[in-house]
Assembly symmetry: C2
Homo-oligomer: 275 residues x 2
């Protein structure tokens, strides 16, 4: 159960490249064992499991993975059948598609599949998720919220996530959808959590307590732990937030961040792999 | 020439309310003398000077200003005629409409009107500008740039502004158009300048070295002076920026900021007026 044994997390800000070099999806496959990987595409978030599942199967096969299967869950009963866990237990990587994060947590949370994912992850199972599949990774997740607004009370809805990573709140499609305001609204309420705003076609690869960025855009790390003043105490729904002293780091591909120390690492990683 | 004598600046992030309570435009009028104000609506930024001018004349008249006139300049020769300055010299407030900020600086910069605006401002003339009229206020201004992207080299075009306020770079329509990336790209190159991202229907009123926020949204103050690392030194056009340790303050209506100390003031102002 040490950090070494845990599987990597590949958390993607949505709209990752599926036709070109597919750098992010290739990295997920590499982490999960390359051509020997056994990949489960988990479509629970989407209401179009067949179409979305088929697309990812094609992608992963084109990358050279022989063993790819889709997995959909449409009821908690189904997620609680012992037989349902077999695919997870045999997988080396599970990929969560986009859709709605609340579908993931409400269908899987507390079921046997949830337990299988966690115990697998502790023993090296690599987990990846894009868009909704990214948001659900944390202990507290953003469910929904208004974009392109200044931070306000009540514009962001939070809920418990799947708890694969602690101490962060993740937002996706970050720069593309102007989501700084909603991520700030979230972390202002949970200043002990770091806000990670992941752009489209951009991912973080988390190993131990270090994350490394890859892909086209950047990750905005919003640290409200440094706040020396906010007006959160006495606001009503819709009121604008005042926040003094937020720390902001912009990390493009190759840059790393120490989640425990809440500090960017200065040196870039040499290659794609990292400890 | 002391701070006391200088006129206030009312710098508006665009799309200010012109039909409802018109709080921001009323504040400009109040600063410029209320019903005794002599307002010049400067339409040099827009290619529709007649329509835009007429709209603001109607607005300011509805607020109770008897003496409102529009002023358009379509050539540098016109801006350099001694007679052109008369309206400016007699005004108590000049309002710059939206349009293109480069039209303002290229048509007015260095002309007699430019000089008249500056000498008037030193003696109490109140200056206001919205959108393009906001951007041009600073010494270095954002001319254009990509929105909804992470910070990158070359996505933001800068040029000299009209120099009514030092030490800041202003962006407008800030949250609404997802402009964090471009403002960060700008201040990363000029870390001694504070980035002021002003939302729509939101304004800063600058008196002396203090700004106060008013309106519906917020002002995002981006302070790259705190940067402890950036990769700016060795990048090519289009490359993503890495920025470690940006300071970010979110200031909604009533909050104030000391531009000289680069610090938010904790206490909100009691009313609309301030020293």
């Amino acid at each position: 159960m040490s950090d070494k044994a845990r599987g990597a997390l590949v958390i993607i800000g949505g709209a990752e490249d599926k036709r070109g070099h597919m750098q992010i999806l290739r990295e997920f496959v590499a982490k999960a064992g390359g051509s020997h990987a056994r990949i489960v595409v988990m479509t629970v978030a989407t209401e179009l499991p067949i179409e979305v599942g088929a697309e990812y199967v094609e992608v992963f096969e084109s990358i050279g993975v022989a063993d790819v299967r889709t997995f959909d869950v449409s009821s908690r009963e189904a997620a609680d059948r012992p037989s349902a866990c077999k695919a997870i237990e045999q997988a080396t990587g599970v990929f969560f598609t986009g859709g709605e994060q609340l579908r993931i947590t409400t269908l899987l949370g507390g079921t046997r599949i949830d337990a299988a994912l966690h115990s697998g992850h502790e023993q090296g199972l690599v987990l990846a998720g894009t868009s909704a599949g990214a948001s659900m990774m944390s202990s507290t997740m953003i469910v929904d919220g208004r974009a392109e607004t200044n931070p306000r009370i009540g514009i962001v809805q939070m809920a418990p996530g799947m708890e694969f990573i602690d101490g962060v709140v993740i937002d996706q499609h970050f720069a593309q959808r102007g989501r700084l305001g909603r991520l700030l609204s979230a972390v202002a309420q949970y200043p002990h959590h770091l806000g990670l705003g992941i752009d489209e076609d951009t991912a973080i690869v988390v190993t131990g307590s270090t994350l490394e960025v890859m892909g086209k855009g950047a990750v905005s790390v919003v640290d409200a732990g440094a706040l020396w003043y906010s007006n959160l105490g006495h606001l009503r729904e819709g009121d604008p937030l005042a926040l003094h002293g937020v720390k902001l780091h912009i990390l493009p591909a190759g840059y790393r961040f120490d989640l425990r120390e809440r500090q960017p690492l200065k040196e870039r990683s040499a290659g794609s792999g990292q400890e």
